[in-house]
Symmetry: C2
Subunit: 133 residues, 2 copies
DNA sequence: CCTTTTCTCTACAATTTTAGTATACATTAC
DNA sequence: GTAATGTATACTAAAATTGTAGAGAAAAGG
């Protein structure tokens, strides 16, 4: 029941962007978070693809937070990196459960789905501003 | 943000025990859940070690639920298999964070810890009886 | 337009975790 | 004492995670 390291790093990266005004190059983000440059770049690309940050190429380029920290939640960041909240593999659309006739009526699935939604709701209430002191 | 397959199986195994009176051999549990016999035995050993089920050896032996289904929660089963609820690796006692002077005052740690506790509380409110119909 | 500094894309490699199996053994009932 | 169970430990295979590498594309500034 863990988020990946990548998602954990993403939160810390967003925190750095939140605290630094203007455009921050990946090299600086890497230094401040302790995440290797290459790995930070990979994470930043995912954040950028989801519109959480925006990238500026070229000299004096870097990244900037696109969303307001009081609207950007842990859920959004974690979901961006780790994918949707599904606490059991059986919730995945691809998963073809052979044990049950109708997926929709499976009690396990129902309950796991409810829990996943609840978890997402909890994490969506924690905004990045919570990390400021 | 997933439980392991092993934990998912454990829930289904407990469900079978809850629905079957008396002592149920692992072979029958394996058949009813679709979990291979060997793997089911491994899971049952963990459940047995935590006092969730009890094992009876020998011919006509098998497993029996030790706790009442209306007191046995998802949290207890998942924790028994996957270990404590810690949504970030940085919560682990072994983990030596080099980025921070004092672990206790780290805001990331504090928030991840709160979320983990909240998640456990939610899952502890879901008892095995919820799966009946 | 050339050079430097940045980010992008895709692919690859190493490590760790998960998932599952095998072998040998211990206990109990009949 | 034999057949049917569970126990313990160790091993293997597969998958996911955690990174790294290389070639390229865009922007800024001279």
């Amino acid at each position: 029941m863990k988020i990946t390291r990548e998602a954990d790093y993403a939160v810390r990266i967003v925190y750095v962007l939140m605290c630094s005004p203007g455009v921050v190059p990946a090299s600086e983000i890497s230094e401040k978070t302790g995440v290797t440059l290459r790995f930070a770049l990979k994470i930043l690309r995912k954040l950028s693809a989801q519109g959480i940050v925006t990238a500026q190429k070229g000299a004096a380029g870097g990244y900037r937070l696109l969303r307001s920290p009081d609207e950007l939640s842990l859920a959004q960041i974690i979901e961006c990196i780790d994918g949707p909240f599904e606490i059991s593999h059986c919730l995945n659309g691809e998963f073809d459960c052979t044990r049950v006739a109708n997926k929709e009526t499976c009690r396990f699935r129902q309950i796991f789905d409810e829990v996943s939604t609840k978890l997402r709701t909890e994490l969506d209430q924690i905004k990045m501003t919570s990390f400021k002191n």
